[in-house]
């Protein structure tokens, strides 16, 4: 049986990870390559890098990071943040990432999904979705609305409708982030996650709200997620990936236990 994936997410700005992180041993806490190695060796099933570099001239630093990560870890990893064109995708994939994630750019220009899937294969294209609960209405029948620009701009697009459309366009996977749950450490948005996961045929990675292993259990069972993104709960050393996996394993969730 397929294992549920546990995926640490690293925010990278100008080639450095942005959160202060308490690691044991000799890990340089600012270096995304060292952190990727640490998570690879600790049993991460995949790693997500989110490039939050503001200036476009510094974006090539990320390409160098991707190249060094690819030489260091031998599990899949994806890169998102600021991917707008086929050329952006090509650079990241050629540097060694398995997947690219598109978010705001895809909402503004859905064609980037189909063009990317055609050029690099569906399995390469992850649709990142930032979603906020706004209540059900005629315009937003599911009650969940697409938001872009890091949660600032409401798009008047129903999240469920967008997920189904993106699958048709060729997205290979959805990384679903709840703006309401993000940063709360109080658990994933289970209703949103199961709603999307049950209505698409592609895997859904749940994101936003993880604070303890029970939250992962909930989203991987009740939330019907195929994978769970985690950040601060492991970055600050509160939990280890092996600890989380051992909890999930004991609770009956199939996870990868040997690495």
């Amino acid at each position: 049986m397929l294992s549920k994936r546990i995926i640490p997410c690293l925010d990278v700005r100008d080639g450095k990870t942005t959160k202060g992180i308490k690691f044991k041993g000799n890990v340089d806490i600012g270096d995304p390559v060292e952190m990727a190695r640490f998570y690879y060796e600790s049993g991460a099933d995949e790693i997500v890098f989110y490039d939050i570099t503001a200036s476009s001239e510094k974006r090539d630093i990320m390409i160098d990071v991707v190249r060094r990560v690819a030489e260091t870890i031998f599990i899949p990893f994806s890169v998102g943040g600021g991917i707008r064109t086929l050329e952006d995708m090509r650079k990241v994939l050629l540097a060694g990432a398995e997947k690219v994630s598109v978010n705001s750019a895809a909402v503004r220009n859905p064609e980037i999904i189909s063009k990317g899937a055609e050029a690099f294969g569906n399995q390469c294209i992850v649709l990142g979705m930032d979603v906020k609960y706004v209540g059900k209405s005629e315009k937003i029948p599911s009650g969940y609305e697409m938001v872009i620009n890091g949660g600032r701009t409401f798009m008047g697009i129903d999240a469920l409708k967008w997920a189904i459309e993106a699958e048709k366009l060729g997205a290979g996977e959805i990384c679903l982030n709840s703006i309401d749950a993000d940063g709360t450490c109080e658990g994933y948005e289970l209703n949103l996650t199961s709603l999307i996961s049950e209505n698409v045929g592609i895997p859904v990675i749940a994101s936003g709200g993880a604070g303890k292993p029970e939250h992962l259990y909930d989203v991987l069972t009740k939330g019907k997620a195929d994978a769970a993104l985690i950040a601060s709960m492991v970055h600050y050393g509160t939990y280890s990936i092996s600890g989380i996996k051992s909890y999930l394993d004991k609770s009956g969730v199939k996870v990868r236990k040997s690495w």
């Binding site: 599990i75 592609i202 040997s258």
Partner: protein, 209 residues
């Protein structure tokens, strides 16, 4: 020298990086002369069977691969590479290389969903190998080891003797096949951490008899 065959099917640098990391020399190439000279061949790839076979023929690589097989060089197929060594693929109704007898079949939603688990296609993520037959390349395999898969199709060899490992995903499907000097995996050893690297390492020192 190990030749990693480049037929415009996805990013092959990850296979090259893993082989280099293990301390073996390799080149990524689409030139027949270089493939002929190499001691071992890795035949990777992601994408669709139809366009892959078109590129293989356009580049004249069908001949190079078949000759490598007849000359008894060790060959490792990975993912799409594993599928196009079969005779035929349901994907794009494609005639393939025919090095191993049998077809490439798609996962059928109904079959996959029969157990009510709501499984998705492609089969994407980590899964186990159940060994059906001993093989040198898989000699380090432990029961709990898992490997990274991304695929909607799988190889189904006609001869049960060509079946080396299977994987469970709604159905039990062949995930490692091979005979003589060829071994082929549906998963990505270059992206499967320690157990995957061990498969690549064993391939790099394998002496088929």
């Amino acid at each position: 020298m190990i030749a990693i065959i480049d037929y415009d099917a996805g990013n092959l640098t990850s296979v090259a990086r893993a082989v280099t990391h293990l301390g073996f020399k390799c080149i990524v190439t689409n030139k027949k002369e270089e493939i002929d000279r190499a001691e071992r061949i890795i035949f990777p790839g992601v994408g669709a069977a139809g366009s892959a076979m078109k590129s293989i023929k356009r580049l004249g690589l069908d001949k190079a691969i078949k000759e490598s097989f007849s000359s008894e060089k060790p060959i490792l197929g990975i993912c799409l590479g594993t599928q196009v060594i079969m005779e035929y693929s349901e994907e794009n109704d494609t005639k393939c290389l025919g090095i191993i007898g049998g077809k490439v079949l798609s996962f059928k939603f109904d079959e996959i969903r029969r157990n009510g688990l709501g499984l998705k296609i492609p089969h994407m993520g980590w899964n186990r190998i159940i060994l059906q037959k001993k093989h040198f390349i898989l000699s380090d395999l432990k029961e709990e080891d898992e490997f990274y898969f991304v695929h909607g199709y799988y190889p189904a060899p006609d001869d049960p003797a060509h079946l080396i490992g299977t994987t469970e995903y709604g159905i039990s499907f062949p995930s490692v096949i091979g005979y003589k000097n060829i071994l082929a995996t549906q998963f990505h050893p270059e992206k499967s951490g320690r157990p995957g690297l061990s498969i690549l390492k064993n391939f790099c020192i394998w002496k088929p008899c």
